[in-house]
């Protein structure tokens, strides 16, 4: 079974190379990309079943034993993240097939888009199964370099401008991460996560706090935690719709995943948790206030993305098994729902010619299917029962109430308020873009539009384009997956809860890497 683990990284990497060679054969290229991702999804599901059955999967690359060689570790959290990422990558891939077939690849230059997309997948999967801090850094760099290419795709002026913000911020966060790896190596003499965890307790407390804060700054920029979240709403919305969707779903979650590992394995029961809770509060509130002020749907969604990162950080900062489990379920829910919403925004843009709610109207009559595809994830993100957003928030609030401190209750109140404001921002889109008759758009007076900010460089309404069935089908598939999260919430939450228990204290992870008796 351990032979399957490296496939998670190898399949998309080999697929990328093959797709690049096949640059002049677009159809074969698409086929290769599809096969690679379907393969990873299949492998991921097998891994999840095996790992959840209680068989740990640890690969010592090249046969070098754990502290010396590189280890790949698949526990429940890793396997779950691999499966969800593969689903999202596959759905977005189908979406871009549809877009590419309809538009003749103006938006997505065919020769490099698919290879780069697979490289991005490689980086994401590598980060999820890395058992070694430096390997995690390499995974981050792979996905970041691919994301630099994707965000500046086509090289228009707006994308270069937005891309520069994103790239420079990412460079700084990478340097932070690399410098903290260097200092951790200086302190404990290893980069193996399990061994760091064993030795970290012997380090003086002030050095521990310094290393901890440096790691958190590096990951916090990637995860868009306030006050390191400013770059995200500025850079995501200009990229092509599928690229934005996959970035929004996955890239920030890789940062959150790394924060979970940091908090549970390297620095368990840290003194910094109350501060992290304050940051979670600020992330939630500041993010959603930004969302409420936006007229552009993509920018609004980018702000809600920042806001909901706060919920995950809250779950991690609680430092309990229940909190971590709730955070894991919330990550799964949010990856799926946020991607779906960005895909739906892409459909709205094609149908209405713009993504500004002050110019859209009459979409429900024109395209009822898009209406449904937007409405369900919108309610889901806002936390309306019985959707997965409600389940995730409920679990988070329960875990917070279990802790019972004043700060925890403040966060519960803020969380409820933030989900209400999220719902407000999303339902306003619904009211304006879908319910408002198209004839009323000119000279429309409403308090709902009184104080919203348009996107910079807002263009006039371009001609509407037909919406290929494949794009609608891909978005519909994602909506179906989000409903599955509700219908099968029991078993899924079971996996999350067991993953949370495994992550309560570093013992499980360390035993996994070094074997039960301390040696393999």
């Amino acid at each position: 079974m351990t032979a399957l683990v490296p496939l998670v990284v190898l399949l998309p990497l080999i697929g990328a190379a093959t797709a690049l060679v096949l640059a002049k054969r677009p159809q074969l290229q698409r086929l290769v990309t599809l096969v690679a991702l379907v393969g990873v999804l299949a492998v991921g599901i097998v891994l999840l079943i095996v790992v959840d059955g209680g068989v740990p999967l640890v690969v010592e690359v090249g046969g070098w034993e754990a502290p010396w060689g590189i280890v790949l570790v698949v526990d429940r959290l890793s396997a779950l993240m691999v499966v969800v990422s593969a689903i999202v990558l596959l759905a977005v891939l189908l979406f871009s097939f549809g877009q590419g077939l309809a538009d003749g690849h103006d938006e997505t230059p065919v020769s490099i888009y698919y290879p780069t997309y697979l490289i991005l997948a490689t980086g994401v999967f590598n980060a999820f199964i890395a058992g070694d801090l430096f390997n995690l850094y390499v995974g981050f760099e792979i996905l970041l370099v691919a994301s630099y290419v994707l965000i500046t795709l086509g090289g228009t002026e707006a994308r270069i401008r937005a891309g520069v913000t994103y790239i420079v911020v990412s460079l700084v966060s990478s340097m932070f991460f690399l410098a903290s790896i260097a200092m951790i190596y200086g302190a404990v003499g290893t980069v193996n996560i399990a061994q760091i965890s064993q030795r970290m307790a012997e380090i003086p407390l002030d050095v521990q706090v310094l290393l901890h804060v440096m790691l958190l700054v590096g990951f916090g920029i990637k995860a868009a935690v306030f006050p390191l979240s400013f770059w995200l709403p500025d850079s995501y919305p200009t990229a092509p719709a599928p690229v934005t969707a996959v970035f929004a779903g996955l890239l920030t979650k890789v940062g959150v995943y790394s924060i979970i590992r940091t908090e549970t394995v390297i620095f368990p029961g840290s003194e910094l948790n109350p501060y992290l809770m304050v940051l979670a509060l600020a992330t939630m509130v500041v993010g959603v206030l930004g969302a409420v002020a936006q007229a552009d749907i993509k920018r609004m969604l980018s702000f809600t993305l920042v806001s909901h990162i706060g919920y995950m950080i809250l779950g991690v900062a609680l430092g309990s098994a229940a909190g971590t489990a709730a955070a894991i379920y919330y990550i799964v829910h949010h990856i799926v729902v946020q991607t779906t919403l960005f895909l739906a925004a892409g459909l709205i843009e094609r149908q209405g010619g713009t993504t500004s709610i002050s110019k859209l109207g009459g979409l429900l009559a024109a395209a009822p299917v898009i209406g449904i595809l937007f409405f369900i994830p919108a309610l889901n993100l806002g936390g309306i029962p019985p959707f997965s957003g409600f389940i995730g928030k409920l679990a988070l609030f329960e875990a917070a109430a279990e802790q019972g401190t004043v700060l925890a209750y403040v966060l519960i109140a803020a969380g409820a308020l933030v989900s209400l404001l999220t719902l407000y921002a999303l339902i306003r889109v619904w009211n304006m873009a879908f319910w408002r008759p198209a004839a009323d758009v000119e000279d429309y007076e409403s308090d709902l539009l009184a104080n919203v900010t348009e996107a910079p460089h807002e263009k006039a309404v371009v001609e509407t384009r037909t919406t290929p069935k494949l794009m609608v089908a891909a978005t519909g598939g994602m909506v179906a997956v989000s409903l599955v999260l509700t219908v099968f919430a029991g078993p899924l939450y079971g996996i999350a809860a067991r993953a949370g228990e495994n992550l309560e204290g570093p013992g499980f992870y360390v035993d996994l890497v070094f074997g039960e008796d301390g040696n393999d």
């Binding site: 390499v138 790239i167 460079l171 700084v172 690399l178």
Partner: protein, 163 residues
């Protein structure tokens, strides 16, 4: 752990210069800053390896205590390769934005400008319109030279006139 003072000072200077350059508006300077910061971080890893010793090759008469720690050097090699790839991408990006705007300065975000000017954006007025022609060193390069000539006459051609 013994640390070489020279390496430490060089690292600090590289970090200081690199961060200063990364805060500049020009993308080329950001690239140079990134290179300096990257090398400073490589030095940091090297410093964390501890004192230098003999090559870590197992041979008779060499005890492990005398050897250099080889792992940080492997990490540095990987980091150098990554920095190299990112620099190549940044150069392509700079060239592209030069082609687009005939200069590699980052444009002001219109939101920010409007906020700074209290509602009206005045800073763009002096800006020359980019003329046609798609060569790499076209009109803007000539403008830069003529501006340089003006340095003799005007004591302080402030940044505002350029933007």
């Amino acid at each position: 752990m013994t640390v070489s003072l020279v390496l430490l000072v060089v690292m600090a200077v590289l970090y200081a210069c690199g961060i200063y350059l990364m805060l500049e508006r020009s993308m080329t300077r950001v690239l140079l800053g990134f290179l300096l910061v990257g090398n400073a971080t490589n030095l940091l890893i090297l410093i964390m390896a501890g004192v230098a010793g003999v090559a870590p090759i197992v041979a008779d008469g060499v005890s492990p205590e005398e050897m250099t720690d080889p792992l940080p050097q492997a990490l540095i090699l990987t980091a150098i390769v990554i920095t190299f790839a990112v620099s190549a991408f940044l150069l392509a990006l700079i060239y592209r934005s030069w082609r687009l705007a005939k200069e590699d300065d980052l444009d002001d975000d219109e939101d920010d400008v409007a906020m700074r000017a209290g509602g009206e954006s005045l800073l763009f007025e002096d800006r020359d319109d980019v003329t046609e022609g798609d060569t790499e060193f076209g009109t803007r390069a000539q403008a830069a030279i003529s501006e340089a000539a003006e340095l003799d006459h005007h004591v302080e051609p402030s940044r505002e006139t350029k933007k």
